[in-house]
């Protein structure tokens, strides 16, 4: 089965610019996650969708970050405006739901803010 797809793989922008990332989860997976992984740290959950509804966005910096999953399938994460400290790998994951709810991760988008 195809895995989680993300694009772009790399992005370099200047501070105060905006950027968007795209994620296509594994077919049939109802739950989609966006994580931020700063160098030297583990992934941190930014937002979780169940179908097209938000389950948890408590760690999303809502003044500059936004995410949507309009049709309950693919999703976009946007940063506007970007700050230097947003430099990180942004990971998308999906899971099928149910009791054994394993998350499958995409390759990530490495963002560098100059």
């Amino acid at each position: 089965e195809a895995g989680v797809a993300q694009s772009p793989r790399y992005k370099i922008i200047e501070k105060r610019q905006s950027v968007a990332f795209w994620c296509n989860p594994i077919s049939g997976h109802a739950t989609l996650y966006w994580y931020q992984q700063i160098l030297g740290q583990g992934p941190k959950l930014l937002i979780q969708f169940q179908n097209n509804g938000v389950v948890d966005d408590s760690q999303l910096p809502k003044d500059r970050f936004s995410a949507e999953r309009l049709k309950g399938v693919d999703s976009t994460l946007k940063i506007q405006p970007a700050k230097l400290e947003d430099s990180a790998v942004y990971l998308c994951a999906s899971s099928p739901g149910g009791r054994v709810d394993e998350q499958f991760f995409g390759p990530g988008t490495r963002l560098t803010v100059l």
Binding site: G3, Q41, G42, P43, Q48, D56, E102, F105
Partner: protein, 113 residues
């Protein structure tokens, strides 16, 4: 504060040596526990998981982990590592009833041939 702790961030060892990576968490209640691995240039993938039952779980590539509830630990072990085990290893914890998966900072493991 609730957290997942992994010590010895950088581990260097020779092939055939034994590996043990510690993971401690501070969450109360029933937890689901995971170890993920990220090989160079690849994405995060599940190594093994514990949901219930036998606290000694076996994963892919000869890895195993033991859940010790009284110590809030889920240590990862492999008796004899190979060069191909060079990777970053992450412990993750999910509290039952809460969908959030919390990760530790990871262990960068380098195996010297």
């Amino acid at each position: 504060a609730q957290s997942v702790s992994q010590h010895n961030h950088h581990v260097i060892l020779s092939e055939a040596a034994s590996l043990e990576l510690g993971c401690n968490y501070s969450y109360g209640g029933t937890v689901n526990l995971f170890w993920y691995v990220q090989y160079p240039g690849q994405h995060l993938q599940l190594l093994l998981k514990y949901f219930s039952g036998d606290p000694l779980v076996k994963g892919i590539k000869g890895f195993e982990a033991e859940f010790i509830k009284s110590k809030f630990s889920f240590n990862l072990r492999k008796p004899s590592v190979q060069w191909s085990d060079t990777a970053e290893y992450f412990c993750a914890v999910k509290v039952r009833g809460n969908n959030r998966l919390a990760f530790g900072k990871g262990n960068q493991v380098v195996v010297i041939p």
